[in-house]
């Protein structure tokens, strides 16, 4: 196919390519929203997912470089869609949704950073997950006909990978100009730094999730344990004061186990707290069970870090039950 024929074919395909790009973006967005929930979806993409058909000039230049015998089929990036997320772990969520659309399109992984870094572990380069998707059947989308086997290149990146691509990939590697080795070196260093930063972000998020899980675990256990005494005035997860107390002492609580906490409570406090059930003070809240353990085992740290001045008298009453004089 000569250039003129290809250019004419491509111009005729533009509406169908654009429609397919939009179709892919909308389908993935809708399914992802159903998958992760409205709340998380609101902030999931760091750049609004978009699509763009390849410009005809750019396609012609690629055709001449790559010397495709069947450019209409072999050029898989005639329309591209891009999804930018925060973390590497978010990429796999988009991948999963994309792959699961197997009744709409076939998907083939075109670039995979993990495989690339396994091949050249000492190099730090452009990273992005690429998929080529082709619709299985003819589709009418928003009044436009999309023939079966139309290809769309889907890029899924983190925000940091996107920043690198904007600078390194587009401005340096695709510029065609001669790039001195020193610039390659700097860009590789920045990629290494981004990969490290991404790794640390993931670690931070994992840690945060673990903490939130600990918090939720304590809250639900405390509510259960307190129900033997009376109805709590508030469930712990809805109680900002309880959450503040648990968050303050999460480090210490790593050494606590529920059997010891309950045993301590039954030995020293159950009688005192029974009178306070239903009240709005500390004794009316399930978290009081934990406060007894904290004061008994760690009086100095607990008193020093106590986050709620309004409950200081209650804290002293807890201490009195345990025979401890708080300074």
């Amino acid at each position: 196919m000569n250039d003129a024929d290809f250019a004419a074919w491509l111009a005729a395909q533009q509406p169908g390519l654009s429609a397919f790009g939009k179709y892919v973006v909308e389908e993935i967005k809708a399914r992802l929203k159903a998958d992760i929930g409205d709340e998380r979806f609101k902030t999931f993409f760091k750049i609004e997912p978009n699509f763009r058909p390849k410009e005809i000039g750019s396609a012609l230049s690629k055709k001449s470089i790559k010397k495709y015998p069947e450019p209409c089929y072999q050029m898989t990036d005639l329309v591209g869609a891009r999804f930018v997320v925060l973390l590497r772990s978010d990429i796999s969520i988009v991948e999963r949704v994309l792959i699961n659309c197997d009744s709409l399109w076939t998907s083939r992984r075109d670039r995979e950073p993990k495989a690339e870094s396994d091949k050249t572990p000492d190099a730090f380069r452009y990273q992005s997950v690429h998929y080529i998707v082709r619709n299985i059947a003819d589709v009418f989308f928003e009044g436009t006909f999309i023939p079966a086997e139309t290809a769309c290149e889907v890029q899924i990146r983190t925000l940091l990978q996107h920043a690198y691509a904007e600078l390194g990939h587009d401005r340096i590697y695709k510029s065609g100009a001669v790039v001195p080795p020193s610039v390659h070196r700097i860009v590789a260093r920045s990629m290494a730094l981004m990969e490290t930063t991404d790794h640390l972000f993931c670690e931070a998020v994992e840690e945060l999730e673990r903490v939130n899980k600990d918090l939720a675990k304590w809250c639900s256990w405390l509510d259960d344990a307190y129900s033997a005494i009376g109805a709590p005035s508030l469930l712990s997860l809805d109680d900002d004061d309880a959450i503040k107390i648990i968050e303050t002492y999460l480090g210490i609580l790593l050494t606590a186990d529920t059997i010891a906490v309950m045993d301590n409570f039954e030995r020293f406090a159950a009688a005192s707290v029974k009178g306070g059930a239903g009240s709005d003070d500390l004794f009316g809240r399930p978290v009081v069970i934990l406060v007894y353990w904290l004061i008994h085992k760690h009086p100095i740290e607990t008193a020093a870090a106590w986050p709620l001045p309004k409950f200081r008298p209650d804290l002293e009453a807890v201490a009195a039950d345990l025979g401890v004089a708080l300074s």
Binding site: R267, F268, A320, D321, V324, A325, L326
Partner: protein, 355 residues
Amino acid sequence: MLDLTNLAIQRVTVFHIPEDQPTKAPGIPTGGQTLVQLSQQGKDMLKMRMVKALGAQSHGIEVSIDDVTPPSFFQQGAASLVGNDAAFLTGAGVLATMLAKAQNNVSLKASKLVVVGGTVTAHARPFLAVVKAELQDALSERTAANAQAIDHLKNIFMTESQRLYKIGFLQRTVGAVTHPHGVYDSNQHSVHLFDHLMTALETRSAAHYFYSGFLGCQTATSARSRTRDFYNQTMEFINTAGFPDVKRYDLFDALRADLRSNSATISVGDFGAAHMNVPDRAAYTGFMAGKMFPTNAVAKDTEFVKSKLRRRRKILFTSGITVTTPPDDLNLIRVVTNNDGSSTLHIPGTESSRE
């Protein structure tokens, strides 16, 4: 060690202890005819005051029971630990009269004596607490007929902030006591004392009538060995806790300074609070508790450690420079005076830090 867990107040009565009579004879206590019906909040408050005064990390101290002859505080109190309410009230009345007698000629104002009976610890050991509370004035706000008014309250007592009270806390320390011929054994009991006057040497003598005259107890018996234990065990903690050298020397100096100070008591809690951050304090408190050192205060007597409390030796130079050396190693440093008016110092070791 005093264990105040599970403290439950069961019986309370209150006496008014007036000033001495015009004839200089002891005042005659009034009240105490019946048990006081205290609300739960009132009991909670009383318990909090007692624990704050005597519990772990408080300034309360253990005292040794000196006077065990009937009718001493100890014998009367021990007999009142158990028995019916009528016997409790009779015993409390005897104690009130003893207090009035003990404070005869001390020129004290009228006060209240609260006698509290109950149980403490998981073993429910009986206790008897005598609380002598000085009377205070205070203000209270009231809304009447949509107008605000401030009332002047006279003769309130046991407020939190002033701590104008003394507590003697007699506790049974064994499950079953022996009392041949109605005489109780002091080894089966303990007495703890809180007196805000006891914490400073200057006012300690003013507290004498209460702990000695009334309670028949002494502070000195165990004070010397307790103070030595405090010194040795604190030194061991400082040496083994992994502090940097500078912090270690600071703590040594702080320990010596605290033991030389005018305070009449020492406590793990106070030393930690004054000289350590929260994690170190917690570690220190845990270390001392592991050594079975009391978690509340102890009376201070430095007789056994006085040789260790000498100040660091100071060498002053004409240029205003001061060099200090450890008090125990007086000959560590050698000073050679040079002809040009300078000095050469020979010091074993190399520099480890400077401030």
